[in-house]
């Protein structure tokens, strides 16, 4: 994901701002890291450059 995506995404649960914590980047994108809700503290993973912003219950169901 590009940093500019931060302008349009929010926490799917309470619509609060997210904080980006990048573990790995290339010239244009964040490849892996975490998005954390500044309100409820829920975390959302970024893997292979794609953030997973499903609510936690749906994320767990999709992984199963």
């Amino acid at each position: 994901m590009k940093d500019s995506l931060m302008d349009v995404v929010c926490c799917p649960l309470d619509k609060a701002d997210l904080e980006l914590d990048a573990d790995e980047r290339n010239e244009t994108e964040v490849l892996s890291g975490t998005l954390t809700c500044t309100e409820c503290g829920e975390t959302y993973p970024i893997e292979d450059g794609i953030p997973n912003l499903l609510p936690p219950d749906m994320r767990d169901e999709a992984a199963a």
Partner: protein
């Protein structure tokens, strides 16, 4: 076979690939889109990539299916795994496109895999259209446009009633008839 080829082969069987409905939505979106664009349920990312290429706009593609998000990402779409509009900010997009899973499906016949999620609109065919229309006004910028693909199989009049309830006016921007259904792209504005 390499891991990458294996992964691509798998993605193709579990991600909805471009069809007639995709072509119709892309045509309408290329004509109507402006500003910042979101395609909900982007699937393979083909429509989103058409809009980005033809119009030079920034396009975000979201899908419930992580395999779909990955394919969209490979088409240089900014991909997000999401449930409809839930992780997007208020007034974030000027154009929002949606080709919903719309086939009415008997609950006894649901087959519960990624392709079903891409095709089935539940018993009425409107199970995804309803929550989409209920939330899209929040995410759409004040002068923005929603481009919604509607199949006659889903109940055209019923969808128009939902559009009206959500506070939008509608205009038909494209329509095409096939042996078993008529597909219409509606432009929704406040």
């Amino acid at each position: 076979m390499t891991d990458l080829a294996e992964r691509r082969g798998l993605d193709d069987t579990v991600v909805y690939q471009p069809a007639e409905d995709s072509g119709l939505l892309a045509e309408a979106a290329i004509a109507e889109a402006g500003g910042r664009v979101l395609e909900v349920g982007t699937g393979s990312g083909w429509v989103a990539a058409q809009i980005a290429d033809e119009r030079g706009l920034e396009v975000v593609g979201s899908d419930l299916n992580p395999h779909a998000a990955r394919q969209a990402g490979e088409r240089s779409v900014e991909a997000v795994v999401a449930d409809l509009l839930s992780p997007f900010r208020a007034d974030a997009f000027d154009t929002i496109c949606f080709n919903p899973p719309y086939l009415p499906t008997d609950p006894d016949n649901e087959w519960d895999d990624w392709m079903e999620h891409a095709l089935s609109g539940g018993e009425t065919g409107r199970e995804l259209i309803e929550p989409f229309l209920a939330d899209v006004g929040r995410v759409l910028a004040p002068a923005g446009v929603v481009l919604l693909l509607v199949s006659s199989l889903t109940g055209y009049d019923e969808v128009l009633a939902l559009v009206d309830n959500a506070g939008f006016d509608h205009e038909v921007v494209d329509e095409e008839s096939f042996p078993f259904e008529t597909l219409t792209v509606l432009a929704l504005r406040r």
